[in-house]
């Protein structure tokens, strides 16, 4: 009896543990912002690149992975300067894409583009990439113009124990990661080094070495609140320069990039959620020897002007602070509203070009409702209203309907708009800037945001029993007020270039993705195809168009100044524009699992001929690319679940060397050749 009462007093009886399980209060883990939308319910065309695709592709950077997105242009000015954009080739900064990492916008304030090489992100830490192939400001914020690359990194719970990886061959990469989960705190961190010699060092100085550090942790003191903290940093040395061009001497640039981000997520009853995020980015780059006057750099004025006077040091510092508030509310069983707002402060110090530092304070509010009208129809309707901090306010509405004819077959009709605000380097060029010998001047008329209207019809077939998905669509995107170099420099040497809302453009296309899994999901194949067309017309006619005075330079060829201007725009811009997009592009990725521990993957990438944007018609275009990549991996399993993998990666196996992105012929004619490396990973 005494024993019994003692047992009775014992706080945790064995039998109580089963019962406790039934009543246990659990944290709200899969909150709205952690869940991704299925393809068949997404309001826009979307490509998801998941871990299995990342691994099978053998790619080691996000830009290369973008080859797996139908219609995405991927080019390399050199190994350090990838150019990634929908709707074909662009200038080096591809301003018209929104790039998000865990919701944090990483395009740089001064240029609007992304410096892909030094983003503090390791490919192994990416969980998936969702690429929205169309404007999506209502969901992804400002600048979601041609599309959005939304990178979602592994959650703090994803890494258990340690992992070390080393690659040698064409590349010299190494990384180590560690993570753990606990009752209130989960964390993972990774350190890495990524380096290669670039494309062809006899022509290009594009060797690179980047060091990266990342920490992500999640603190969840109770069942309804969690704090996600991310810190990351990278610094790197990047070669730049073209052989035979003194104004582009071989030299090393360096850059440093840091970010901090903290999100507080609170789960309300009935799946409602509030998320508050603060993020901070800084980016600092240094070019020690930039030519600012090609005449001096090339030695034309020697000995009167020392060559060194043609060069200077270029430093660009940019900083972004952003505070975002987002709420998810279930208005009723069938209506989910996501609404919120953000404030952003962009600061850039780029003395050489902008003269003095600039700060742009912008804000935006957004609302987006997902309404399940019936079991088979979903209406997505939303808008974003923004103040771009440069004197413009715009709204970007969007509506789409997804209709499931059967659970397998879905049709999507969508209409979507977005704006792209001019970036600092377009709007704020200093009148007395010295860069490139002062070849560029501030815009004559203030720049206004570019606008896009996209109409599309899509089909999604999800055949789960066959493990097959089909995703196809046709679209027309109409763009107005494209900001482009207004080239009246070509007319009179004293008139340099400046930016202007110059063109209207139209893009039409059809694209499709088929994904199929077999051998119990361990093998898969993805096929992407895109057909694209582009055309343009002058949106705002330059005043010189009507200039009837005789052409001062070549009166025999041009009947008037206006005639010269017309011919110039027609030949150099309007006629070249369709060449910016490849008519056909294809990517295929196959991954076959063999004998349980071998994985054989093959990638095939085809892209039709492309002409680089913003350059003269005499620059060598990028010829047709037909590239075949291979990856063979063997897994070794040890006791206690430890495992290792050795992989051999060969890119461009068939040596079908192709020309690359380039704004001058010396660069445009560099070939992408075959390369290979061996990589080993141990998880412990």
């Amino acid at each position: 009896m005494l024993l019994l009462s003692f047992l009775g007093a014992f706080p945790c009886l064995a039998e109580e543990s089963f019962d406790d399980s039934y009543f246990q209060a659990l944290p709200v883990v899969l909150t709205a912002s952690r869940l991704s939308q299925p393809l068949s319910e997404a309001p826009s065309a979307m490509t998801v690149i998941d871990r299995e695709m990342i691994k099978a592709s053998g790619f080691r950077s996000v830009p290369e992975l973008m080859r797996l997105v139908p219609g995405m242009y991927v080019g390399f000015a050199d190994a350090n300067r990838p150019v990634v954009s929908l709707h074909g080739s662009s200038d080096e900064y591809s301003h018209r894409m929104q790039i998000l990492i865990d919701g944090r916008s990483v395009y740089m304030p001064p240029f609007g583009g992304v410096h892909w090489a030094d983003i503090p992100l390791m490919i192994e830490d990416i969980q998936r990439i969702e690429v929205v192939r169309g404007p999506s400001s209502a969901s992804h914020g400002t600048n979601s113009f041609y599309g959005v690359i939304n990178i979602i990194t592994n959650d703090a719970t994803a890494q258990h124990g340690g992992s070390v990886s080393v690659s040698r061959g064409y590349v010299s990469d190494a990384s180590a990661r560690f993570g753990n989960t606990g009752e209130q705190l989960d964390y993972r961190f990774s350190v890495g080094y990524r380096s290669d010699q670039g494309l062809d060092n006899s022509v290009l100085n594009d060797h690179n070495a980047t060091r990266i550090f990342n920490l992500r942790s999640n603190y969840h003191p109770n069942g309804t609140d969690s704090f996600d903290v991310q810190i990351g940093s990278s610094n790197g040395v990047y070669g730049i320069g073209i052989s035979g061009r003194p104004e582009d001497a071989f030299r090393d640039t360096s850059s440093q990039s840091d970010y901090q981000q903290i999100s507080w997520i609170h789960a309300w009853p009935v799946s409602d959620e509030t998320k508050l995020t603060y993020s901070h980015n800084i980016h600092n780059s240094l070019d020690p020897y930039l030519c600012i006057d090609s005449g001096i750099c090339q030695g034309y004025y020697v000995p009167t002007t020392p060559i060194s006077q043609g060069f200077t040091q270029q430093s660009v510092f940019s900083q972004r602070n952003e505070l975002e508030f987002q709420n998810t509310n279930w208005l009723n069983e069938t209506n989910r509203l996501v609404w919120g707002g953000s404030m952003r402060r962009d600061y850039a110090d780029y003395e050489l070009f902008l003269g003095h530092p600039y700060t742009v304070n912008s804000w935006q509010v957004f609302a987006h409702d997902e309404w399940r009208i019936s079991e088979s129809a979903i209406l997505n309707i939303g808008t974003m209203y923004e103040d771009n901090g440069m004197g413009n306010r715009n709204s970007s509405p969007r509506a789409s309907i997804n209709y499931h004819f059967t659970p397998q077959h879905t049709l999507r009709f969508g209409i979507s708009t977005a704006t792209r605000s001019p970036v600092m380097s377009e709007s704020f060029i200093a009148a007395n800037n010295t860069i490139w010998g002062g070849a560029y001047v501030p815009p004559v008329n203030p720049l206004v945001p570019e606008k896009i209207l996209s109409k599309e019809i899509g089909y999604i077939g999800e055949f789960r029993s066959l493990a097959l998905t089909v995703d196809a669509r046709a679209y027309i995107d109409q763009v107005s007020g494209l900001i482009w170099w207004d080239k009246y420099v070509e007319l009179t040497p004293s008139f340099p270039d400046s930016f202007k809302n110059l063109f209207d453009a139209e893009y039409r296309g059809v694209d499709a993705t088929v994904k199929y899994h077999w051998s119990d999901g361990r093998s898969f194949g993805v096929l992407n195809y895109a057909y694209q067309q582009a055309s343009t017309s002058l949106g705002s006619i330059p005043t010189q168009y009507y200039n009837a005075s005789p052409d001062p330079l070549n009166p025999n060829r041009y009947s008037s100044v206006g005639d010269r201007v017309r011919q110039y725009y027609n030949n150099e811009y309007v006629a070249q524009f369709p060449g910016l997009v490849p008519s056909h592009s294809v990517s295929v990725l196959l991954s076959q699992s063999l004998l349980n521990d071998l994985q054989l993957s093959a990638g095939y990438y085809y892209r039709g001929r492309v002409h680089v944007g913003d350059v003269g018609s005499d620059v060598t275009p990028e010829n047709t690319m037909r590239r075949f990549d291979l990856r063979i991996a063997k897994t070794f399993k040890f006791e206690k679940g430890r495992r290792a993998e050795v992989a051999w990666i060969v890119q461009n196996v068939t040596e079908d060397n192709y020309t690359k992105y380039g704004t001058v012929n010396a660069v445009a004619e560099v070939l992408f050749t075959r390369r290979a490396w061996l990589s080993a990973t141990i998880d412990f």
């Binding site: 019994l4 009775g8 039998e15 019962d19 399980s21 659990l26 944290p27 899969l30 069983e333």
Partner: protein
């Protein structure tokens, strides 16, 4: 397990003459339909227990039953029937000599308590919180008809799941069971089981599923695109695809039926599973995983009709 009404037992201890007098008195008393002295004993405070007590009280309001509520840590006097709410109450109630009906207890927990005294001859019964294995698998098949491989992760603390595995085999589904021996290996074991199954079926095993591991398990399952099926409403809110469970009100109704029957017959039936149940679905998770689950009520009616068919005409 089934025995005559409790109060006759104590008569043995009283001298015969007195017994006759008392019996006589009692028979007159019962002829006037003396109320059954029932106490609802709840040694622990939990909202589910409170809900049960509230509903049970409501169910028996108009019956000739003298219902007392005992939200304390001990039982001072004897009753005709103790309705013990929760496992802690059950363990205390079973130490008395009164008949006990245990509710909101797990099958494993209750059976473990009974091990202590197998010779106990008084009326003891229970309504489990557990759902019968067959019901769980029927629901799984009705909700996820494409699922073929069911993953089950368990530890050395796990309750017995033979009934569940039998039900799985009967439906010609494949069970992939993976034992996880330590917290260090949970991640790898979880990955293995997720890789090999179409759905992960959670069981009340706190060696695997507890408040510090559930975040990791749900995230990992979601990452691999494998839904987790839970066994309580909390699981659905946390991020499980759906849960099958009985609400305290449903158990209270069943308990009141047993109490009334006990009043009439002096017998308690064998421990039983709850008859009525609910299914809640996390629509957000279902949508995100691209799983379409028929409306709850449709699903429930389908399952209920299946169970009725199985039971045959009553």
């Amino acid at each position: 397990m089934i025995s005559s009404a409790g109060y006759t037992r104590y008569l043995n201890k009283i001298p015969l003459s007195l017994s006759i007098v008392i019996l006589l008195g009692l028979s007159i008393w019962t002829a006037q339909a003396a109320p059954l002295r029932v106490t609802v004993f709840s040694a622990q405070s939990r909202s589910a227990y409170d809900q049960f007590v509230h509903s049970f009280k409501g169910e028996l309001a108009r019956e000739n039953i003298s219902l007392t509520l005992n939200p304390s840590n001990s039982l001072s006097s004897e009753f005709d029937l103790i309705v013990a709410v929760g496992i802690k109450s059950a363990s205390i109630a079973l130490k008395t000599h009164s008949p006990v009906l245990c509710v909101l207890v797990s099958k494993a927990g209750f059976e473990e308590l009974l091990q202590a005294d197998k010779q106990d001859k008084r009326a003891i019964s229970a309504i489990y919180m557990d759902q019968p294995g067959k019901r769980q698998i029927d629901l799984l098949v009705a909700a996820l008809p494409r699922v073929k491989k069911i993953g089950l992760l368990y530890s050395s603390h796990s309750p017995n799941f033979t009934e569940l595995s039998k039900a799985i085999k009967k439906k010609h589904l494949i069970l992939y069971e993976q034992k996880s021996n330590s917290a260090d290996l949970l991640h790898r074991d979880l990955q293995t089981v997720l890789q090999k199954s179409d759905v992960l079926l959670a069981i009340p095993d706190d060696g695997i599923y507890n408040s510090s591991t559930i975040r990791h398990i749900l995230m990992e399952a979601y990452r691999s695109g494998t839904p987790l099926v839970g066994f309580s409403p909390a699981y659905v809110r946390a991020g499980a695809l759906f849960s099958l469970f009985s609400r305290p009100e449903q158990i209270a109704k069943q308990a009141s039926v047993l109490t009334k029957a006990y009043f009439d017959t002096g017998r308690l039936p064998a421990p039983q599973y709850p008859h009525k149940f609910d299914v809640t679905v996390n629509r957000q998770v279902a949508n995100s995983l691209g799983i379409q689950i028929k409306q709850n009520d449709l699903l429930l009616s389908k399952m209920n009709s299946a169970e009725n068919r199985a039971r045959g005409p009553q």
